[in-house]
Amino acid sequence: MIENIRELLKAHEGLRREVYLDIENSSIIPKEVVDTMLPYFNQHAYGNPTLTHKPGWEAYEAIMKASQEIAMFSGCKTLEEVNFTPGETEANNLALMGTAFSMTGEGKKIVISEIEPLSVLHVANLLQKHGFTVVKVPVNEEGLINLEKLRETVDKETILVSLSTVNHEIGTIEPVKEALEIVKDKNPKTIFHTDASDAYGKTAFNMKDLNVDLATISSYKILGPRGTAALCVKEGVTIKRIIEGQIGTQKLWPGIENTPLIVGFAKASELAFHNFEENVNHMRRLRDKLIDGVTAKISDVKLNGPENDRRAPDNVNISFLKCEGEALTIELSLNGVYVSSGSACTRRLLQPSHVLVAIGRKFALAHGSILMKVTRYHTEEDVDYVLEVILKAVGRIRGIVGSVEVDSHV
């Protein structure tokens, strides 16, 4: 297998340009963030932050400083509200299971939207197997949650509602504030969680303004290192730990803190919020250039998710009819454009993204979806190149499809 991978890599030699747009699944870490992290691996603060020696105290200081910075950027009242975890998946697991474990006797109902990320959806499904009731509230064609349905669903039995601030796949900015009001109005005891991984550092997300109980924020989605994220827990809200072991500085996540990554997360936050307006406007401009370029030049395409200000500034998700997503991602990769597709091949059939199915995309459109996210580091020239490559790639793949009838209604 490794030999095949080497051959695949060799097939990429001599590329004129490379543009990485798969920020949904991993990111390139800017040099400034890497440089900030490096000394923490072997020169400074390499100790355990709970121990009584110099490298330990240094680590404690570094983690507290990072917590303070992230608390400030995310609008947490105190640094105590910032709880580092080893990633968004873990933070979302902690939010759901930690709430379920702590609300014993309060009810058994968990409410999420139909388009939550798998680290919410699968955990909810798991809890369902353990006696909880899970209700998935539908969304409209743009991915906006049906607030009326939410109002009908939340009751005295509801212990938790989880709704992303920005949808990870189609960039829909959800009405979290309204949803929260509805939920608390129906049941003040219900814990409200939002996965803000795609909102933090890219939209006006702020714990204080939003006043949610729990929020997941991501490091790699703002170009920090993978392997760290945080669950913001509002003062006064208590949830249970979901794994046990030696407790360190993080009350909700035992084990030894990864100081360099936490420091990198804080640095990435600082960079995202430095010239915030300018960064966001830059992303928005490139996002629209990409969307407009594709829709103007290529027939039978459909934008997934809303437009303009109702869409995350970085998110581009487009379905190409008569184009199978995996074939398209490989063709794009061979030309230096790195993106992901919504559908994943299982043993027998292609599994369309649950988000695209929820917004009513038929299989033939869902299978040809491509997800791209732009960053402040991308340039106009990058987007010009991506457009050139996509146009050629779609043309070639559709040439192979030829007269095969791929109806957009199936």
């Binding site: 051959e7 008569k322 199978e324 027998r348 038929k362 299989f363 192979i400 007269s403 009838e405 199936v410």
Partner: protein, 166 residues
Amino acid sequence: MSRTPLPYNRKILELFRNPKNLGKMEDATVTAVAGNPSCGDMIIFYLKINDEEVIEKASFESYGCAANIATSSIVTEMIKGMNIKDAWKTSWKSVVEAVGGLPSVKFHCGILAVGALKRAIRIYYEKREVSPGWLPKELTFEEKQALEEEELAKILSNRMKDEGEK
């Protein structure tokens, strides 16, 4: 269960980049379709068969992944110049072998390609209203699998229609 990147080999990559025998054949003796777009997997085979029952030309069109394209293409290569009886003996395992191996999640691509070929051969004889002794009445494994995939697609799309009407 875990996920790996699809480790396509050099042969599949080459057939994906430069598929052999690609395109609609205007003077085809027989055409067969297999698969369904809702499974992300659909092929058309075109065969030009002469009076001696030899496959003179074979071509394909495909909506599917790189493995689907590569296996369809290799099948057309394998059967070109063969008589129908020999072409019928093509198995999905020989197709997987001919492309130098497939990731197991992609076996169904090779199966579908052979299913489409066997379907084309049956259609050829049905049109001529002859039934050679070597041609089994019962569907082969590959044909059954192709049918199953198509049935599955129908169930899926009906389920989606139901949900759309909710």
